[in-house]
């Protein structure tokens, strides 16, 4: 018992599967439970809704294609939010960064389409990353050098991004064929990203080459954060700024770096949406993916594997939810937003609600075992 007492106050030693599996699962369960109550209130059967949702997300090849296409967006924004989290920053502006990246993609695809596809596509992708990076660099710089809080600045930058895009699409890049709606002309075909090949059965879905990019970036993210000096410095700043300074690591430099990378990652949403699917710049193509990225990063514990699984979950909810709106009378597509919000609530804001109880349960179990032995 003396041993157990000495450990009091020390970080909870619970098995990894509890921390990474059980606790997120219980939070998820709570979110689904409340969602079920909402469905019950509006007079439908929650279990049938769940069945429709799962079938809609994974039931047939095309559905899987759609699910993976949404997953792609969530991987990008999840990674974007996660890299900022590693540096102790809250990037709530992935939405705006992704939106501005659409301008980069659009300019490259509209004005450089005389180039062969193997030149114009990489340029457009780089432009997306660059525009997103610039849009996140400014809040990063203001946080690092002028002390303005990055949460507020990125919120403001979301609105400013919206205004800029609104102006460019309405006044400058608008196409005459669009009949007055603010969108550009269609990109030339050599700028389109390849869709999923026929043998997968997903060729009719919007799943495209961006999915491969997302997986590659996930691997690169892992390598960068845990196996490079830059990633190490970012994490030290995120853990303890004073310690970082003492070790000769510049917090300002790393804050700016983390935000810039974050913006670049968020920018890839524009690649998936514009080069992959819409083939023109439109308003609101970001569809809230940037905000959901926060939930993805939180659930995925800022690790690429976790982010992939969380992104898949949200992708499935998105696609399955669309099906839900078709299949069930009293449910419309906004139900998906409710589920998302509840997941953010339980796995983010209320993460300390179940955790202490679960942890102390496992601690007690471990102590009991030690005493018996």
């Amino acid at each position: 018992m003396a041993e157990a007492k000495a450990k009091f106050g020390a970080p909870a030693k619970v098995p990894a599967w509890v921390n990474l599996g059980l606790i997120p699962f219980i939070n998820l369960l709570a979110a689904f439970f409340i969602s079920g109550l909402v469905i019950l209130i509006i007079g439908d059967n929650p279990l049938k809704a769940l069945e429709v949702l799962i079938y809609g997300a994974f039931g047939y090849p095309e559905a899987i294609g759609y699910t993976l296409y949404y997953t792609t967006n969530f991987i990008f924004t999840g990674l974007a939010v996660a890299i900022a989290f590693h540096c102790g920053l809250f990037n709530i502006g992935a939405e705006g960064q992704a939106f501005i990246s659409g301008l980069g993609v659009g300019l490259a695809a509209l004005y450089l389409d005389f180039l062969p596809f193997w030149m114009v596509i990489p340029i457009a992708i780089l432009a997306a990353a660059l525009f997103g990076a610039i849009w996140a660099y400014v809040p990063g710089y203001l946080q690092a050098k002028r002390g303005s809080h990055v949460v507020i600045t990125t919120i403001m930058f979301n609105f400013i991004a919206f205004s800029i895009m609104n102006y460019t699409l309405v006044e400058i890049l608008i196409s005459k064929e669009a009949g007055g709606s603010p969108e550009t002309r269609e990109f030339a075909e050599n700028t389109w990203l390849a869709l999923a090949p026929d043998f997968t059965g997903m060729a009719d879905s919007p799943l495209n080459f961006s999915f491969i990019i997302a997986l590659a970036l996930s691997v690169a993210f892992y390598y960068f954060v845990w196996h490079t000096r830059w990633g190490y410095e970012i994490r030290v700043v995120g853990q303890n700024e004073t310690a970082a300074k003492y070790a000769g690591i510049s917090p300002a430099r790393n804050i700016i770096l983390a935000m810039t990378i974050s913006g670049a990652l968020a920018g890839f949403v524009a690649v998936n949406e514009l080069l992959g699917v819409h083939h023109k710049v439109i308003m609101e193509f970001t569809g809230g993916f940037g905000f959901v990225g926060i939930a993805v990063a939180l659930m995925g514990r800022n690790h690429p594997v976790g982010i992939f699984m969380a992104a898949l979950l949200f992708g499935a909810i998105y696609q399955g939810g669309t099906e839900l709106a078709f299949e069930m009378q009293s449910i419309n597509k906004e139900m998906v937003i409710v589920i998302q919000g509840l997941i953010i609530l339980f796995s983010g804001a209320l993460e300390h609600m179940f955790r202490p109880k679960i942890e102390s349960f496992f601690r007690r179990a471990a102590t009991a075992k030690a005493v018996e032995a």
Binding site: V38, I41, I42, G43, F90, I92, L142, R146, G147, S148, H149, V151, I152, T153, I155, M156, F157, F159, I160, F162, S163, I164, N166, Y167, V170, E171, F291, I294, L298, S330, I331, N332, E334, M335, V336, I337, V338, I339, Q340, G341, L342, I344, L345, G348, A349, L350, E351, H352, M353
Partner: protein, 323 residues
């Protein structure tokens, strides 16, 4: 005379736009001065707008709507407090979650209950707050300038506009001249000191957030039952964030916040007038630029290029009692 009348009309529009901003910014003031970041203002306002419209159309009374709006906003505010104060969760995440849940829940419930694609039925008669003509407004209208200002600008708004106007001095009084206000300010600057004095930090923050919920509820009700006639999805359209910007622009103080709200509302009213008008020297000012102006100004202020904004010191940090 024409420019004078135009100015009065412009200011009249400014008051209408500023009302929800003022109420929500003052709501945020309580929360943030108590040390709790609240980006969930938008969601609370939207939730209140829906509840108010739904209750007003069901019971045929705007006052029942107001009660429902306030109750809903209070409930959401308590949820925020439960997550951030009781469970020491991340305040930004909690606010975000509330915004997203409400953005989804309001059209979902509206769709299921009213079968109008997420809207509520149009309100009229007693179900809506109508404009009030102040005493003697018609009698003094013909008096040049002062009479006209009284009749057009001061008179003829609905009750919530006057509530918002009264809220500013009341909030300033509560914040600076009462024990509760002193404690709220203290808990946002140095919660340890408050705790040492034997006052519960958690209780105080719950109270402050209750005030936040109350004011957001009034603001939401204004949108759906006074300014508009019914709820439409996403009807807050970023006003919660704009109020947050105004709060920062007003440096977390009631009177400067009021002026920030009026300034932002004025740019909004002006933008409607300036649409496509060719001005001398500058030419046509893009609407989008005027729309983005409040946000740009706030960023510049935060960066210290226009004055300096000092947020409450303990803002954003959950209070953990030392052992």
């Amino acid at each position: 005379m024409e420019t004078f009348e135009l100015t009065v009309l412009l200011l009249d529009a400014t008051f209408r736009v500023a009302t929800p901003l003022v109420l929500v910014a003052l709501a945020g003031l309580f929360s943030e001065r108590a040390g709790v970041v609240d980006i969930g203002l938008e969601g609370k306002m939207l939730g209140a707008a829906f509840a108010a419209a739904a209750a007003a159309t069901t019971f045929g009374s705007a006052w029942v709507g107001l009660c429902a709006g306030i109750m809903t906003s209070l409930a959401l505010s308590s949820l925020h407090a439960y997550a951030c104060v009781t469970h020491k969760g991340n305040q930004v995440v909690s606010g975000m979650a509330i915004n997203i849940v409400v953005a989804g829940l309001t059209p979902t419930l509206g769709f299921a209950w009213f079968k109008l694609g997420g809207r509520t039925p149009a309100l009229n008669g007693d179900a809506r707050f109508s404009s009030i003509t102040l005493p003697f407004a018609e009698a003094v209208r013909d008096i040049p300038i002062i009479g006209y200002i009284y009749a057009e600008l001061i008179s003829g708004h609905n009750i919530i506009v006057y509530i918002a106007a009264a809220a500013v001095p009341i909030v300033a009084y509560v914040l600076y001249r009462t024990r509760f206000g002193l404690r709220v300010r203290a808990v946002g600057e140095n919660p340890h000191a408050v705790d040492t004095a034997g006052i519960s930090v958690n209780t105080l923050r719950y109270q402050a957030l209750a005030v936040t919920g109350f004011l957001c509820g009034i603001a939401g009700t204004y949108l759906s039952t006074a300014h508009g006639a019914g709820f439409i999805r996403d009807m807050t359209a970023g006003k919660g964030y704009l109020a947050l910007a105004a709060l920062i622009f007003g440096k977390w103080k009631p009177v400067p916040t009021l002026f920030a709200c009026l300034l932002f509302a004025f740019t909004d009213a002006l933008q409607a007038r300036l649409q496509g008008v060719d001005l001398p020297i500058v030419g046509v000012i893009p609407v989008q630029f005027i729309q983005a102006l409040p946000y740009i100004l706030t960023v510049l202020l935060l960066a210290g290029f226009v004055g300096k904004a000092n947020p409450p010191k303990a803002i954003g940090e959950p209070y953990i009692k030392e052992r």
